[in-house]
């Protein structure tokens, strides 16, 4: 079902420390085009840092990041050029509070892609419609529910037509009743063939959508596999303990 060519994103031996704390201790992973990778792990395990290294919001101390085979953590490559090809969705939505939903989605199109206003608006309205919020175009973030804000944030990232989408615990800050609407949009995206790296503890989503699951702990990848199998028969004690915890 998936075109197994060179990886869309590849991470090699990436290390990152904040002060004395080594958050990533040599991470190797890859995502192929059209694949959905889910990363799970206890808090402080380095998941978010890994995600932020991929789009260079955090510069790794050592190791390499490749996007479609191009090394991107290179002094000769502008991080802005990398980031506009990688969409990111944050735990706390981070919509621009002074802009309407429509303007939030348009901003990257007009400023980064330098489209004119009319064209940007056309694309932005289309993206809002894709996440089911065409009627909320003129609402400010504070007037939207958490689920709606997160869907606008997804539309904002999608508008730039990214090669990969990164999701950093996209449903953790949501009230339970809004989680499914965000997961639905993400599932639709995955089915359309979007390459995705998702940090999330939504087991249902991981089982039904993810091609691969990574379990991280203490800055290393402890276990990799097909989600169903990893959940059903974890190979390590740490993974077993973690599954026990999130299943309650």
């Amino acid at each position: 079902m998936i075109d197994r060519e060179k990886p869309m994103v590849e991470v090699r031996k990436v290390r990152k420390s904040f002060g004395d704390l080594e958050v990533l201790r040599g991470i190797d992973m890859q995502v192929k085009k059209g694949e959905v990778l889910v990363i799970v792990g206890p808090s402080g395990s380095g998941k978010s840092t890994l995600l932020r290294c991929i789009n260079l919001l955090i510069q790794p101390d050592s190791g390499d990041i490749f996007l479609e085979g191009v090394k991107v953590n290179d002094p000769d490559i502008r991080p802005e050029w990398v980031r506009q090809q990688i969409g990111m969705v944050f735990q706390s939505f981070n919509l621009f509070t002074h802009l309407t939903a429509l303007k939030n989605v348009m901003l990257g199109l007009t400023k980064v892609k330098r489209l004119d206003g009319l064209e940007a608006e056309k694309i932005a309205r289309y993206e809002l419609e894709r996440v089911g919020l065409a009627d909320k175009a003129d609402a400010y973030p504070a007037q939207l529910s958490g689920g709606q804000q997160q869907r606008v944030a997804i539309a904002r990232a999608l508008a730039l037509n990214p090669k990969v989408m990164l999701f950093d615990e996209p449903t953790s800050a949501l009230d339970p009743e809004f989680i499914h609407e965000v997961l639905d949009v993400m599932t639709k995206l995955a089915n359309e063939g979007m390459t995705m790296v998702v940090v999330s503890h939504e087991m249902g989503f991981a089982k039904s959508v993810a091609d691969e699951l990574i379990f991280m702990d203490n800055g290393v990848i402890v276990e990799v596999g097909v989600p169903e199998e990893v959940f059903a028969s974890p190979k390590t004690d740490r993974m077993r303990a973690f599954i026990g915890k999130i299943l309650g």
Binding site: Q84, Q85, F90, N94, L107, V112, Y140, Q143, A157, L160
Partner: protein, 297 residues
């Protein structure tokens, strides 16, 4: 939404914020008017004198206004980059390398400037700059006014720098991270996110600074600038009507400052964005909604 059927007509009129404000202003004017009339009757003050001299003070009031507007604008222009250095300098210094080399001296200079300006009396700054300017540009006509404007600019720049620093720092890290994540460059992030959001957060302190600056312009009297206080003193002592002159002059300050601060409050309310800056009191929602259509022009 209130059910209109349940309220009597008078009740609804009374609940209009505009009506209450009107009643308040009329009431205040009546009290002040009665007081002044009483003083006029016993001969302490003279309405006749005020009526025949207000136009004399007008041109000096305009000089005060001119000095304030120019120095505020200069301060605004300088405080934006200086506030940026104050807000983001430490972060760049921590990053090390070239960023540190550039940011360290800039941060030290700007911080020193803001501390010295805010830590010394405005009058001392005015005297110092006046001495320097008038000795450098001896004999240039109107030089004392320009020396005064320079001094007020130097002063307000220090205060506005700290106002902008606070505004820029109040913009959430998540907003900056989101802007970065869609590929915006630092300058674009500043122009599209940090500046517009920061400006909204500091509207009130900026208005306060304008008010303080306008009143501080009266200090220029002490370096022989012919501004409003000078005019008040001139007619007060020359014509031996000091109390009338100072009451009349005070009305000029009020006539300029009260409408201005009302206008800022009004703008804040009309241009308000949900979830950003001052919260909107429920009672005022109706009022704001009425003027919201102005927003769409």
């Amino acid at each position: 939404m209130r059910d209109p059927g349940r309220d009597s007509g008078w009740r609804r009129v009374w609940d209009e914020p505009l009506f209450k404000t009107g009643v308040g202003i009329v009431g205040l004017l009546a009290v002040v008017g009665l007081l002044l009339t009483a003083l006029n009757d016993i001969g302490e003050i003279s309405f006749d004198f005020m009526a025949s001299h207000w136009s004399f003070l007008l041109r000096y009031a305009l000089t005060s206004l001119e000095a304030t507007v120019i120095s505020f604008a200069v301060g605004f222009g300088l405080a934006i980059p200086m506030g940026l250095v104050r807000a983001f300098g430490p972060g760049m210094i921590r990053r090390g390398g070239l960023a540190r080399g550039v940011a360290s001296p800039l941060y030290a200079i700007v911080t020193g400037y803001a501390e010295v300006i805010r830590g010394t009396p405005a009058l001392v700054q005015i005297f110092l700059i006046q001495f320097w300017v008038t000795s450098t540009f001896q004999g240039v006509p109107g030089i004392s006014l320009w020396a005064g404007i320079a001094a007020l600019s130097v002063n307000t720049t220090g205060y506005q720098t700290e106002v902008f620093r606070a505004g820029f720092q109040s913009v959430g890290q998540g907003q900056i991270e989101a802007a970065k994540s869609i590929g915006m460059r630092p300058t674009q992030t500043f122009a599209s996110i940090t500046f517009p959001q920061g400006l909204r957060l500091i509207t009130l302190p900026l208005a306060n600074e304008w008010i303080a600056l306008f009143k501080a312009s009266s200090l220029l009297w002490l370096i022989a600038v012919q501004e409003l206080l000078w005019g008040m003193d001139y007619i007060g002592t020359k014509l031996n009507h000091p109390i009338d002159a100072f009451i009349l002059g005070s009305f000029f300050y009020l006539a300029i400052l009260i409408p201005l601060s009302r206008a800022v409050t009004f703008l804040e309310r009309v241009k308000r964005i949900p979830g950003l800056g001052v919260a909107e009191p429920q009672r005022r929602a109706l009022f704001a909604a009425r003027f919201a259509r102005l927003d769409r022009v």
